[in-house]
């Protein structure tokens, strides 16, 4: 896969992932922009990997964590369109509240949830992405889910999630 081919097929899903991770499309665009520029320079190596998408996703996560350190003024906040009909109002309000609470999570906890529930990665893969142990991943996830008051319905959450990324 050439870099140009990747920008056509791989860039849109990476932007979706980054938007969920960062909580705002503006920060996601900045993060992915930086990642894409770096990736372009190193594409001779990245393009030859078995799974360049995983590598690029890891770059985005690292960049996000880095950005969060460098740019503390960026506070992830969901930019939600208003509910279109009253029927959806309650559900939308719940989602807004959830997204607001997600924005307040420590960044590594948020990253774990995004990688697990949006990225469809298992704990080992998340650990590799974040550069920590699977046990740490589980700890982050457990604390985050508790903070968000989310009922944990499965011990094998990563086996049945869809791979949205």
């Amino acid at each position: 896969m050439t870099f140009d081919e990747w920008t056509r097929s791989g860039l849109p899903p990476l932007l979706r992932f980054a938007t969920v991770l960062c909580g705002t499309p503006h920060l996601a665009e900045d993060v992915v922009q930086d990642v894409a520029i770096k990736a372009q320079r190193k594409w001779d190596r990245i393009g030859g990997l078995d799974n360049p998408e995983a590598y690029l996703r890891r770059m985005v996560v690292n960049e996000y964590l880095s950005w969060r350190r460098k740019w503390s003024r960026y506070v992830p906040s969901a930019e939600i369109e208003p509910a279109s009909t009253p029927d959806h109002a309650e559900r939308t309000a719940d989602r807004d509240q959830l997204l607001g609470e997600l924005a307040k999570l420590p960044r590594r906890q948020r990253a774990v949830l995004v990688l697990r529930y949006f990225g469809g990665l298992n704990d080992a893969e998340i650990a590799e992405t974040l550069g920590c142990s699977p046990g740490t991943v589980r700890a982050h996830a457990s604390r985050a889910l508790a903070t968000l008051r989310i009922e944990f319905t499965s011990n094998r959450v990563t086996e049945d999630v869809h791979h949205a990324y």
Partner: protein, 402 residues
């Protein structure tokens, strides 16, 4: 009660707000091999053949396509239409050029006598256009599901240098160019002007609205490009570099289908050398002139003057190929300005010209002096359409030109 499904739902909702990748792509440096840009500024001598006069006003048909998406085009996709223009009836694509990574269309509103808008459309792929040249902060305008940037140019910054020999060159001091990506990886640039009388002068003025209207009609659906010839044996190392097509229009007496394929060995140091620019008083030349480095041109022509050689030679041909009289002859046929019946031949002896039944097939070599036998082999190995005036029945250029 919140569940993991609530979390997934929230993430999906966030993901749907992801930004479009256009701006990121625009910020990246173009990569990959590029075909050298064809510098086509060819100015010819004052020899203006009657054919050129016809070509200057030729007005062809509306572009249509009859095939599926680009992925379904078989053969060389350079010789297919990358989009469907869906031109309104009043607009004609009077000049169409196709190369590996760029396609050019000259569009003219033929129903307006004065102040008719005329436009240039360029399509670029494989990094042929550098979107980072779009100035930051350029205003945007919606084009269907896409967003186009409106780039204002002052003429000193050639954002979109056009092909040579356009009948209606853009010359407004301030140009407005729409730039957008109708298909991922395919950039479209569209600019329109109108000649507006101002006192004693006629001032070319950029017009955005016709460009926006035309842009909205363009459909990201690839189409078939017809070719009246199917190439056969070619001199070693040559491959097609450009197709130039000027369609027929029945409103213009004498006009015809004019289809030209230019071939090259890829070495600009060999082949055609454009004539040196001469002082004023000269006019720009043949629309089918080759570019520097082209080695062979094959032109198929049904315009009024298809039978020039037959007239000059009194029917005495050097050979008969495909049932057509074939003449080994000079490159140019020149009509006297004072007496159009007086015709002379000039230029190098490098051409084989086939004429019959309203069709001329002109094969010219710009490499070393070709022998008649070489050109006859090229001609004899070609296959010609049985429907010269019906482009819909022509061969598929994607496979016929290769």
């Amino acid at each position: 009660m919140r569940t993991e499904e609530s979390l997934r739902d929230a993430f999906e909702h966030l993901a749907d707000q992801a930004p479009h990748p256009t701006d990121i792509r625009a910020g990246l440096q173009p990569r990959g091999p590029r075909r050298p840009r064809r510098t086509a500024a060819i100015i010819c001598t004052a020899v203006v053949t009657a054919s050129v006069a016809i070509a200057a006003v030729v007005v062809p048909h509306v572009i249509s396509d009859d095939s599926g998406p680009a992925a379904q085009v078989k053969g060389n996709t350079a010789w297919s239409r990358w989009v469907d223009l869906n031109l309104p009836k009043n607009f004609k694509a009077v000049d169409q050029r196709f190369t590996a990574n760029r396609q050019d269309y000259e569009l003219v509103d033929t129903t307006v006598r004065t102040q008719a808008p005329f436009c240039q459309l360029q399509l670029h792929r494989n990094g042929d256009f550098d979107p980072s040249t779009i100035p930051a902060g350029s205003p945007t305008v919606p084009i269907g599901e896409h967003t186009a940037r409106v780039v204002t140019l002052d003429g000193k910054k050639p954002f979109m240098p056009p092909p040579s020999n356009y009948s209606f060159p853009l010359s407004a001091k301030l140009r407005k160019v729409l730039a957008w990506e109708p298909i991922d990886g395919l950039w479209a640039l569209l600019s329109c002007e109108t000649l507006i009388p101002q006192g004693a002068d006629i001032v070319p003025t950029a017009e955005l609205q016709p460009a926006v209207s035309l842009a909205k009609l363009i459909s990201p659906r690839a189409g078939r490009l017809g070719s009246p010839v199917k190439l056969g044996e070619l001199p070693k190392g040559l491959s097609p570099q450009l197709i130039h097509y000027e369609p027929y229009d029945n409103a213009i007496p004498g006009s015809g289908e004019e289809f030209t394929a230019l071939l090259s060995d890829g070495n600009p140091a060999t082949g055609y050398v454009p004539p040196v620019l001469k002082p004023a008083g000269l006019v720009s030349g043949n629309p089918w002139d080759p570019a520097r480095g082209d080695d062979l041109s094959i032109r198929y022509d049904t315009s009024k003057f298809w039978n020039q050689m037959t007239q000059i030679r009194g029917g005495k041909a050097d050979a008969v190929i495909h049932g057509m009289k074939a003449y080994y002859t000079n490159a140019k046929i020149t009509y006297s300005k004072k007496d159009p019946t007086k015709v002379t031949l000039s230029g190098p002896l490098n051409t084989l010209r086939l004429e019959a039944n309203g069709v001329a097939v002109v094969i010219s070599s710009y490499a070393a002096k070709p022998s008649m036998e070489q050109l006859k082999r090229v001609a004899a190995s070609m296959e010609l359409t049985k429907s010269p005036k019906d482009p819909a029945a022509w061969f598929d250029a994607a496979t016929a030109i290769r």
